[in-house]
């Protein structure tokens, strides 16, 4: 499954990295502590977080995440967005709480395998 189908299914708004939405998703990871995400997430994960600090872009690109979903109506901070646009890291936003986003995503991923 790619990011694009998630964007459609969960009605996400894309804030950056529009050209990277064909990226294949391998898994999901949730966490708001950068050190934890650095240590434990995997390449190809879509990362669900509330953290809007610019360092999320660095973490996502270092770990080669498929993209970042900001939940609960949070928006990337200004310098976060600039970095993400420059680095081509997809940031998507949702008004739903993290639990709902994960639940729906998990269901989609398990359906398509």
């Amino acid at each position: 499954m790619d990011l694009e189908s998630i964007v459609k299914a969960l009605n996400l708004k894309v804030r950056s990295g529009e050209d990277k939405l064909k990226a294949e998703i391998r898994g999901g990871y949730t966490g708001d502590l950068l050190s934890d995400v650095m240590a434990n997430s995997n390449e190809g994960d879509v990362w669900i977080t509330r953290q809007v600090h610019q360092n999320i872009v660095a973490v996502a690109s270092l770990k080669e995440h498929a993209g970042i979903i900001l939940v609960h109506g949070s928006e990337p901070a200004k310098d976060t967005l600039e970095k993400a646009v420059k680095g081509g890291v997809p940031i998507m936003v949702s008004d739903l709480p993290g639990f709902e986003v994960i639940g729906r995503l998990y269901a989609l991923m398990n359906k398509t395998g």
């Binding site: 898994g27 999901g28 990871y29 949730t30 966490g31 708001d32 502590l33 934890d36 434990n40 669900i48 509330r50 953290q51 609960h72 739903l96 709480p97 993290g98 639990f99 709902e100 994960i102 639940g103 729906r104 995503l105 998990y106 269901a107 398990n110």
Partner: protein, 120 residues
């Protein structure tokens, strides 16, 4: 879902609250940021987190959270454990990552706390 069923579903270990496993929960909140929890989580919900410090228990207590689920195989520190015993909040720990925990619970009908508390 009861805590009892949740323990099974998540292959979790109950560290505190063996006597409260009959408790029913319908909603959950997942976060590592306590201010986020404080802003949105509703009373009677599950708190799913990767944190283990005493502030997790304080936050849960302030909000009347039903139970805490610690993911990624995390275990509470000694102080956290003591505080949770004091305020009598169940703590479950499981080796699954938060994504897996939330995904499984959602599949079994648990929903997010959508209601925004306070006067947003």
């Amino acid at each position: 879902m009861t805590l009892h069923e949740i323990r099974k579903l998540l292959d979790a270990e109950v560290l505190i609250g063996e006597d409260q496993l009959g408790m029913e929960v319908n909603t959950a909140f997942v976060a590592d940021l306590m201010s986020d929890v404080l802003a949105f989580a509703t009373a009677g919900s599950l708190l799913i987190t990767g944190l283990t410090n005493p502030q997790v228990v304080r936050t849960a207590d302030v909000l009347d959270i039903a139970a805490i689920i610690m993911g990624r195989g995390k275990r509470p520190s000694q102080e956290t454990f003591q505080l949770a015993e004091e305020v009598n909040i169940p703590i479950l720990t499981t080796k699954y990552i938060l994504f897996e925990i939330a995904g499984r619970l959602y599949a079994r009908g648990i929903r997010g706390c959508i209601e925004k508390v306070g006067s947003k």
